[in-house]
Amino acid sequence: MIKIDINKKLHGSNGVMDLNVELEIKEHSFVALAGESGSGKTTLLRILAGLEDSLGTLHIGDEIWLNDKFHMPTQKRGIGFVFQDYALFPNMSVEENLLYVAKDKKLAKHLLEVTQLSELSKRLPNTLSGGQKQRVSLCRAFMRRPKLLLMDEPLSALDPMMRTKLQNEILALHKEFGTTTIMVSHDPSEIYRLCGRVIVLEQGTIIHDGSPKEVLLRTKGSQKFSFEGELLDVVKVDVIYVVIISIGQQLVEVVATYDEVKNLRIGERVSISTKAFAPMID
């Protein structure tokens, strides 16, 4: 069990903010941290890693990482960390990046096999693609067989295809090592696929805490579909209007009447939903 009870004053873009988090996380679980930027997610992760100081206490299993008198140095915490910008060591090959963490050739070989990087093991990081770099970074994080794995938006710099591939690899490694994992993410589908629990932060406090289904699903009552998107354009065609909305990576056309479009402004966030119909899924 991980018990987090921390308090830290943050000086963000919106003035001073109080990061106030009390949490318990079960061992072997996979938790997502969501929330708008500036809500304190990354800071919470950095406090867990010991990269930033904080008031309060951190209990990890039977170890104390933080209390009034004690702050365990990052080096001794035995964690894994995956940065958004990979943070690989450019002067070391893929294999050396892993072995720098722990001189365990067998484990390094296994991790590179799982992530299909074996053939690239002698290459320098700057010759790799973004997806390959992040897989190396993921492998490196597992080299200490960490008690706790922290990931700060690990996949947000990658294209959707690569993201799905890496999600599967993260899932496979999580299953194999059983590492308690906390991941900062903005992507609902990613959270839904990977995590058993979502914690949403706003202005430094927890506003939602539950399963991805409870927290992320946006349909209410009899609604079958509900999407949020950005209104891009309204085009008049004869007597009706066609509204163009961007939802995720896709553009959608929706037919609307004058009464529906008269209050809409281009650039607004809108939600579209339908009721009572049977969709076709090909």
Binding site: A49, L51, P73, T74, Q75, K76, R77, G78, I79, G80, F81, F83, D85, A87, L88, F89, P90, N91, Y100, V101, A102, N126, R140, M143, R144
Partner: protein
């Protein structure tokens, strides 16, 4: 022409290069941890330390030379201490010259190293701490290998700058042939006694060496940046 070159005394050059070599080595060993500290600290004393480090750039060499001369002479506690306990005199000899050069060239070693360290992606250093490595090991194995252009600049410029010093050397070392008479001082004396031939040869050698040194630094940095393009974003 060949005869002229053969008849010229090259000892001052050897002293210049010996002085520059020893100074560069000492400064490298001392400044590496210091520059690392400056790049990582957010302490309030940092601007103070940076200002003191940069002083030799702006001070007239005569001022610096005067203070060093005064500090190392028998009249000061430092000079008296060395004289009394080790029997070493620190002025008007080679050791004094090395100490003076270390002060004079200090910023040229510290500043490139510091800015090199500051340019490193902080996450990379944190990744090393998370891997359980100490700050010292991180500096040695992660930071240092990734600031090669800055490292080369620091070493070469410190060396070249020490070879090129004049005022401080003259103040602290005087011009004792075979001991403290370096190339730049020798040129000054040749001009004074109107031996323009030797002055020309000496100056031309200095010019060519300096140019080649700087050229090689720029070529290396250019190649390095090409090879590792997009590193320190």
């Amino acid at each position: 022409m060949i005869e002229i070159l053969q008849n010229i005394e090259y000892t001052p050059f050897l002293i210049s290069f010996k002085l520059a070599g020893i100074t560069t080595l000492i400064l490298f060993l001392l400044c590496l941890p210091f520059a690392w500290y400056l790049s990582q600290t957010s302490s309030k004393v940092k601007p103070f330390l940076e200002a003191v480090t940069a002083l030799p750039i702006v001070l007239p060499p005569s001022v610096l030379g005067f203070y060093i001369l005064f500090a190392l002479s028998q009249n000061s506690p430092v000079g008296a201490f060395f004289e009394e306990y080790f029997g070493i005199k620190l002025v008007f000899n080679f050791s004094g010259l090395v100490i003076a050069s270390c002060f004079y060239s200090l910023p040229f070693m510290v500043q490139p190293l510091q800015s090199g360290f500051e340019g490193i992606n902080k996450n990379m250093l944190e990744a090393s701490y998370i891997a359980g490595k100490s700050k010292f090991e991180t500096m040695l194995k992660v930071a240092l290998p990734n600031i090669k252009p800055a490292l080369l600049t620091a070493v070469i410029v410190t060396f070249a700058h020490t070879v090129g010093e004049f005022g401080v050397v003259l103040m602290v070392g005087g011009s004792i042939p075979g001991e403290t008479k370096v190339a730049s001082v020798a040129i000054y004396e040749m001009v004074e006694i109107m031996d323009y031939t030797s002055a020309h040869v000496y100056s031309a050698i200095m010019l060519v060496i300096s140019f080649l040194v700087l050229l090689s630094v720029y070529i290396f940095n250019h190649k390095h940046n090409k090879k590792f393009n997009g590193f320190h974003q």
